[in-house]
Symmetry: C2
Amino acid sequence: MMLTVARSIGSLSTRAPRGRVFPVEPAAWLESVRTRGAAANYQGMDGRAAEVLSTHATAHPLSDGALERALRERREFVERAFDDIEPTIERLAHEAIHERGYGKAFEAIASRWGVDLRASASGGALPTFHWARPLPWGEVYAHCVLATFAQLARELKSPAGLADVDGEPAEVVVKRFGFHAIDITPCADGRLAGLTEHILRIPPSVITARRSYAGAMFDVDEAIAAFRAVEVERLRQALANGAAPASTRFLKVGAYHFSGSQPRHEGCAAHGSDDHRAMRALLERLEALRGAIESLHDTRIAILLVGVDTDDDSIRVHVPDAQGMVSIERYVSSADLRHVTRPLPREAGKLLIRDRVAACAGTSVDDRATEGMRWLCGYLLKNNIGQIEAVHQAFGGRYPDLGHAERLIVAGDPIDEVQLRNLAFQTQFSTLEEGARDIQVGIGLLGHSHAARGLAVPVLATARFDARLPGARERAAERALRHAAAIGERHANASGPSLVVRAATVDGEGRIEFVTPASLRGLEGSVNQGHHA
Amino acid sequence: MMLTVARSIGSLSTRAPRGRVFPVEPAAWLESVRTRGAAANYQGMDGRAAEVLSTHATAHPLSDGALERALRERREFVERAFDDIEPTIERLAHEAIHERGYGKAFEAIASRWGVDLRASASGGALPTFHWARPLPWGEVYAHCVLATFAQLARELKSPAGLADVDGEPAEVVVKRFGFHAIDITPCADGRLAGLTEHILRIPPSVITARRSYAGAMFDVDEAIAAFRAVEVERLRQALANGAAPASTRFLKVGAYHFSGSQPRHEGCAAHGSDDHRAMRALLERLEALRGAIESLHDTRIAILLVGVDTDDDSIRVHVPDAQGMVSIERYVSSADLRHVTRPLPREAGKLLIRDRVAACAGTSVDDRATEGMRWLCGYLLKNNIGQIEAVHQAFGGRYPDLGHAERLIVAGDPIDEVQLRNLAFQTQFSTLEEGARDIQVGIGLLGHSHAARGLAVPVLATARFDARLPGARERAAERALRHAAAIGERHANASGPSLVVRAATVDGEGRIEFVTPASLRGLEGSVNQGHHA
């Protein structure tokens, strides 16, 4: 079993790429974008970009010009990196026919994406060209997507503008407003893949945990474990300082999604595209977690329910009331706020948001007890107005791809360094069957669009590790390889080109590295023999 | 998918059984055992019992007569309950042929095991008798095994003698000697299924967690989570009391196993029946856990490595040295201690154990720093001498079934209420693939012996829940049903009788209950539709 995998994923070299993943040097490309202006880049997509841009030429007073620009450039840069792969591989395939050989193509792929296809050929020799037996170019494509994703994850950083709130570090402000940890669970749907950076615009420094599940249906036991990881350190520090721990709280945010324009078809599939069912199920789970932690540790956590309209990334924030109770009926809509604050000066707009949030909570604007949560809700709503503006500027009223259009599947642990809508279908494992089912769903969704284009679905099995822990990297590698192997078992295609191309990576705080069974010294024996009693 | 499961596992009624699982009333049966004497019961097994008993007629000075008796009676009672099933079902099958109908058999099975087979027939009608189409009696057998196991888990209690150490509650003594929690990981092998109660004789009150893994290869992240669960409460209480937490430690025990007589064949399959590999791998993992907790929380836990010889349940305790370091070469053997302490008075025997343990640790017998760990090692060694004595008395030098002879598979969470060697192949899930592989191994092992006897392999998918937590029971039921369904998918037999019979239970602190998809109100919809994004 592992030998098959070795052959299959051995084709990704683990050495540093000779060339770059990117079509052009990032700096040069960004410069050219700046020179030509952003609108020009999107003119071609549906012809509406410039028109929309002209009608909304005046920036919304609550949007942050520098941050908008940085996020847009990042998005365009990432999209370009992926968009470029298919035509390039197609061109190389045509050239190989002309050349009657693969030498140039292999060289180009190795230098551009760092993918060494010779490693997969026996003895490192180039396969012999034959017009009737072409290379499985669809698999080559998938390897290049995986390499691109990994390299972007390594190299891209969050825009600096995210990290600040009015000139102060966001984590300081968030803590002052009463939260020592924010743990976010979105749905695994690729349309939420830009949740923290683009939609909510929370910097990574503020988020202690982020795991996606189909339908945002997180496992309560795992969420309790995430709470305890934070809590042990908090209590230990308080004891070390000889002081009571601060009265700040752990906040669990759950994000469901829906489609404003096609509620019955483009909502959350896990909940039958029924947004009432999606929010009710998620709220129940958030309340179950709060109840569990209260019963087990006599500690009250804060919960927050957020809904995302995947048409235009606008959000609903279900502001908790003075008792911390959340209602599915009671929320503030960022889309509404965007309209009503447009004509107002910036400060007046912020005051209006503050009033709407307090009204939703049913408290006065200077109620001390609810101040922290109300501030946080207002912060998310204001941030999101910038995102809706960005979507409107780039695509008109809503995204052209309302449904799924993910480019790869990320399975195992989350990779959040490359945040972008519809980039990756991310599925985190909690149980034997949930994991298998989510991957099945992902392969079904991507397989449809990929097979039509002759492409294999790229699947990245990844495992995070804490570099401080002895042996953690090796254990993560073993886990990622096991996941990759299991995905292979279910989706192996006995004859013909593979429908799925897998790779395994380990992730030491953003340092994504590819691993192969051969790269695990001393582990092969136990993996090959299987761990059985 | 779930509908198939519903049909298949719906045949176990969830109502209380009309009759009893046990062949006779427990009290009456135990009384009869007492009257006839224990040896008589085992005379028939290989003819050696009485002979052995007579040569070892003098009890070992370190064994505890009352506890030995209680444990032996429990063991015999459990064995009798299971041994009785196959001949009874066979007799009922013969009677059905005579009667040309199933009425009496169904009545007998319902009244004796609480298994209502009519529930699985359409409309509750009895299947029509036909000589050439017999009932799948091998499946009926498996249902009765599952019902028996669940009822024993509900009704059996640990013998009272376990809970005390020289008249004091064991948990008080263990804490005084420096341990506030003991977390044990044995191998999933059924021959270790009696580890805590029979082999080490630690009462449940002392054990905070026990999870089995193939090869005892526990997941470090899960073990960290188990540590944190205990640590949060300990720190919280210290803060509430305004005092520093006590200097007691968290102890992680790992138990590997080997076969003294057939080391190359009857050792741990996960480690290629190589005891050096088994201990080295487990020690590495224990050290990785200690290192991880030290790095993450600046707290040092204690680790202990124990080896079990599955021939006769004797143990090796790898006593840590003054620095807490464990060596695979350095251990005290209970088999040796049993011999050398036999001629000594009880107190002298205990002193000898104390000396041997101190010598192994490389410390003096009154070294304060290592006193707690040395006491614990001596406690386990002394307890185990009683167990070796019990094995010798019942079976001569060693068990007649050196290899696997499990009666069922328990998958998901552990069920430790019924502790007995070779009773259940227990496999706890941690990851997608480990779980699947372990179950596969278990079904392979049991399938072999069961198929030869025309019996289906009973598999119990079970999920624990904390009754204090809102919704926890429903979530556990959903989890157990999902596991049962997944096992079914892999082992469904399209035509002919099933090779595997599955049931799902939830376990609220020892209150085992069967669940069926129908018993989960409101959940069917989401289960049938699949949770996908």
